[in-house]
């Protein structure tokens, strides 16, 4: 059974058809890449999956439960974490506080016990602090735990965004351009991290422009162009597909 099933999704903004009848499946523990030129509808698709947009047609099933039309926080609560393309962090908080706030889904004790600071709640709180520290360690951010998020360099902001998403304990992680804007060595480190995330049993769906990274990272790739699914297949197949090359480099003009 696939983890996520996207079935015939169509999304229209005014006169623009952002997604037209897009269907695909995400299997457990794979890294699936979603590529396509600007304006192809990749970010819209992410927004539809995570509940920021509701599709005009079609449905999405997560673990065989329909999630189309649910609120963002409900979808997140079911185990779909995501990072955004633009840096979206709690900018005025420290790195540690960012991840700590992200652990919202981790708590089992009811909120009123947390308010009363009962012993069980305190124990849970201490455990979650430990967990936040562990996630920071994993994402190589432990050294800057007391730095404000706003003051981090770009690469570390990306790592922090992923760390926050991991705090949410997702089964499926949507990464919107995790390595874009990074230099090759940073990209290599981040790619490695994403592989390690997969080894933790988390399924990863990536939108990315850096082709080298996508090709080496993904098990399968789906190419979108102008809101439609163009091809789906292994990196090798995609690389040599004439339609993909055309969509990317454009047809020869003049």
């Amino acid at each position: 059974m696939p983890l996520l099933q996207v079935r015939n999704i169509t999304k229209v903004f005014g006169a623009l058809i952002a997604l037209r009848d897009v269907s695909f499946e995400v299997n457990r523990s794979e890294i699936l890449g979603l590529i396509g030129p600007n304006g192809a509808g990749k970010s819209t698709l992410f927004n539809v999956i995570s509940g920021f947009h509701h599709p005009d047609k079609g449905k999405i099933l997560f673990k065989d439960t329909q999630i189309t039309g649910l609120r963002v926080d409900r979808i997140a609560g079911m185990g779909i974490g995501r990072i955004f393309q633009e840096p979206t962090l709690f900018m005025q908080e420290t790195v540690f506080e960012n991840v700590f706030s992200g652990l919202h889904r981790h708590y089992r004790e009811p909120a009123w016990k947390a308010f009363l600071h009962t012993r069980a709640a305190n124990r849970e709180e201490a455990a979650s602090k430990k967990k936040a520290a562990e996630i920071l360690e994993f994402m190589d951010l432990a050294a800057m735990r007391d730095e404000l998020a706003a003051n981090l360099p770009h690469g570390h902001q990306r790592s922090l965004a992923i760390a926050i998403a991991l705090a949410c304990e997702p089964e499926l992680l949507l990464l919107d351009e995790p390595v874009t804007g990074m230099n090759p060595s940073e990209t290599a480190v981040m790619s490695d991290k994403i592989r390690q995330i997969r080894e933790r049993g988390i399924t990863v769906l990536i939108v990315e422009h850096d082709m080298r990274a996508v090709m080496s990272l993904c098990d399968r790739i789906i190419v979108l162009n102008l809101g439609e699914k163009l091809v789906e297949g292994t990196p090798d197949r995609i690389k040599n597909d004439q339609r993909v090359i055309e969509a990317y480099l454009g047809k020869q003009v003049i």
């Binding site: 600007n38 304006g39 990317y248």
Partner: protein
């Protein structure tokens, strides 16, 4: 040299988005800046047009320094910017969009000539004058954005991703328009994701990676460069 950028650095907060970029545009030349998303292409254009003041480095246009001037002053000197996502004024009519584009043309007669000129190149806009700009198709919106920028009577036109979200047929049309504009003696900086289109139109190209220029040269040579192909399709 029409435009010359020396050692430009741009910061958002503490993050350096452009790191020591130098760039030149000659008279009646098309240059293109290509690179992945987030490489800083848009930021370069925003720095030139004054929307994002640079942290250091300077920008010279026709022999005078323009870095530090404000955006509306830079437009008046002859640099027009078609921003990313077109940014047409959706709740206003096409005619009103054009009128605002023609803000700098003071006399009525000149305005008439300028409008006539625009309609010659974009006949579709004349048909749509009364319509709200937001109701135009993607291609028509792009035409409107370009027309509006041309009404500023620029010496240098900067276009940010004109092919974004357009179907191949319309992209070709936009390509023809770009050459056409250039033939009238206007220099162009083209920022594109669609590398092949950009390289086929431009004379020279700069490849940007993480805010730095990693490659520059003749567009024709770059188009056949293995490194460029790699940057776009991996491998």
């Amino acid at each position: 040299m029409l435009l010359k950028i020396n050692n430009l650095t741009v910061q958002y907060g503490k993050a350096e988005v452009i790191k020591g970029l130098s760039l030149e545009v000659g008279e009646t030349e098309i240059i293109t800046i290509i690179g992945a998303n987030g490489a800083g292409k848009t930021t370069v254009l925003r720095a030139i047009s004054g929307l994002k003041p640079p942290a250091s480095g300077d920008i010279w246009f026709r022999g005078s320094k323009i870095s530090g001037l404000r955006a509306h002053e830079i437009v008046r000197l002859g640099i027009s910017h078609v921003p990313e996502g077109r940014r047409i004024l959706a709740p206003l009519s096409v005619a009103e969009n054009l009128e605002i584009g023609a803000y700098l043309i003071k006399t009525k007669r000149e305005r008439g000539t300028a409008f006539q000129n625009i309609f010659d190149h974009f006949p579709v806009l004349k048909e749509r004058m009364k319509q709200l700009a937001g109701s135009l198709s993607g291609g028509e919106q792009q035409m409107l954005a370009i027309a509006r920028a041309l009404l500023n009577q620029p010496r240098l036109l900067m276009m940010d991703e004109p092919s974004m979200g357009l179907s191949p047929l319309v992209v070709e049309q936009v390509g023809r328009i770009i050459t056409d504009i250039n033939n009238r003696g206007i220099s162009i900086i083209l920022v594109e994701q669609n590398a092949r289109m950009a390289l086929s139109l431009a004379g020279r190209a700069y490849v940007l990676e993480a805010g730095k220029c990693v490659l520059e040269g003749e567009a024709g040579a770059l188009a056949n460069d293995e490194r460029v192909k790699h940057a776009y399709l991996g491998g």
